[in-house]
């Protein structure tokens, strides 16, 4: 037990720190090159230490996960085996039917998902902050990855690269607040924007080209084919989980669930 009397009047330096910090915030929001470079250098400097810690920590984490989730893992394995068989059959059927959209895209000479080459990467961490939905992957500029590259996992879109150094890169997930993806609906081909909702794993579909369109539960959305789109067309993005239109609403409230489980990513592919 003690009592320490201190002089707590210190506004000038506090004010200087605040002004400096707010200046940096404003500078970064305007897209400052030196700050981006500084971030890249910091990530490069620290990445060997991160790799070391992850190398030691990951087996421990995997062991705990394996022991704690043994039942879940076994059930999931069975489910995935069943799904795999079903998908093989569906793939063969779809090959026979062909895709009208795909044919049109070929006519327009737009790059497709299948055309894109990719770099496989392992997810080595999540976001170090509480206000963003990102993951860290173990590949960077040495593997040809650059800011803006789309990232996919086995069944669909994951996000895009928003920061990169030589050996690691940060992927901002599609369900981050403020993240928008141009999509088309599976049945009607109507276009809209799939947007992340703050703190929720689900997304919302807005700015539909035709607000009268009938949207069915379970319908898929794919990245849409436009000339300057960030993402190649036809990547599955999300599935419609609910649709609701209240009296007076200009457009229906459509909720989407990402096709990929973004809370449980292990490997991803960065498209180039």
């Amino acid at each position: 037990m003690t009592f320490v009397k201190r002089n707590v009047r210190w506004p000038p330096v506090m004010a200087a720190l605040l002004i400096a910090a707010l200046f940096l915030v404003a500078l970064d929001e305007r897209g400052s090159g030196p700050i981006t470079s500084l971030r890249r250098v910091a990530r490069e400097v620290i990445s060997p230490l991160q790799t070391g810690v992850n190398t030691v920590f990951n087996p421990v984490r995997d062991l705990f996960d394996g022991v704690l989730n043994y039942g879940q893992l076994r059930d999931r394995n069975l489910e995935l085996t069943r799904n795999n068989e079903a998908l093989r059959g569906k793939l063969l059927r779809e090959r026979a039917v062909g895709s009208k959209v795909g044919e049109l895209e070929k006519l327009l000479d737009l790059p497709t998902f299948e055309d894109a080459t990719g770099v496989a990467a392992r997810v080595v961490g999540g976001s170090p902050g509480n206000f963003e939905r990102t993951v860290l992957i173990n590949k960077g500029t040495t593997s040809g990855i650059k800011i803006g590259d789309p990232v996919v996992a086995g069944s669909g879109l994951v996000g895009k690269i928003t920061a990169v150094s030589r050996t690691v890169a940060t992927v901002t997930l599609i369900n981050s607040a403020g993240f928008g993806v141009g999509v088309r609906l599976e049945n009607s081909n109507e276009r809209g924007i799939a947007e992340g909702k703050s703190g929720e794993s689900e997304m919302k579909l807005s700015f539909l080209t035709n607000v009268q369109v009938v949207v069915k539960k379970g319908e898929l959305t794919f990245t849409s084919a436009t000339e300057d789109a960030v993402f190649p067309p036809d990547i599955p993005v999300a599935r419609v989980v609910s649709t609701q239109k209240l009296t007076g609403d200009l457009e229906p409230t459509i909720t989407l669930k990402p096709v990929v489980n973004l809370d449980d990513l292990t490997y991803v592919k960065v498209l180039r």
Binding site: V8, L18, A20, A21, D28, Q50, F131, G199
Partner: protein, 166 residues
């Protein structure tokens, strides 16, 4: 014998590595502990508002290097939190482990709120939301959980005769 500056550098480096590796796997209801913020609270607790805010500013800037949120946002929230905790603590008659835990939680509430308010003010989507409130509260509990070892680490880094008495 390591100098105090070197120990503080090692403190920040260790915590930033832990924050960007192990801490990222500790999600509970969308929140993780904020190790550098707890260190800022510990410095403010031990050294008062001036050094608390200075340490908060620089450790916040270091953390900002690894986030995609605006650079300087953590620096704003950590430095103000360091100042507030240091000011608040200097008027307290009792200091104990329980106080450290409570101050770490309080620091999480202050810093999280400032981060959300300033982030929302500069136009970042989703910072003003119910989810942010949830993350701030859960994150504060996490900060309380990790407070004791980080306070010990900070005390080692500061290493003064006066502090050794505690």
């Amino acid at each position: 014998m390591m100098t105090r500056r070197l120990r503080l550098f090692l403190l920040v480096l260790s915590l930033v590595v832990l924050q960007t590796t192990i801490a990222t796997h500790l999600h509970v209801f969308g929140a993780i502990p904020d190790l550098l913020l707890v260190a800022t609270v510990a410095v403010a607790y031990n050294e008062g508002p001036q050094k608390g805010s200075l340490f908060g500013f620089f450790s916040g800037l270091v953390l900002d290097l690894f986030l995609v949120s605006p650079f300087g946002l953590s620096a704003v929230s950590f430095s103000l939190t360091g100042f507030a905790i240091g000011t608040f603590q200097s008027g307290m008659a009792f200091q104990s482990r329980r106080t450290q835990v409570l101050l770490a939680a309080l620091g999480g509430l202050i810093a999280g709120s400032i981060f959300a308010i300033v982030g929302g003010a500069v136009g970042r989507a989703g910072y003003f939301s119910l989810h942010s409130a949830q993350v701030i509260v859960v994150g504060s509990v996490w900060n309380a959980v990790v407070a004791v070892p980080i306070f010990m680490f900070v005390r080692w880094a500061l290493m003064t005769e006066r502090l050794r008495r505690y």
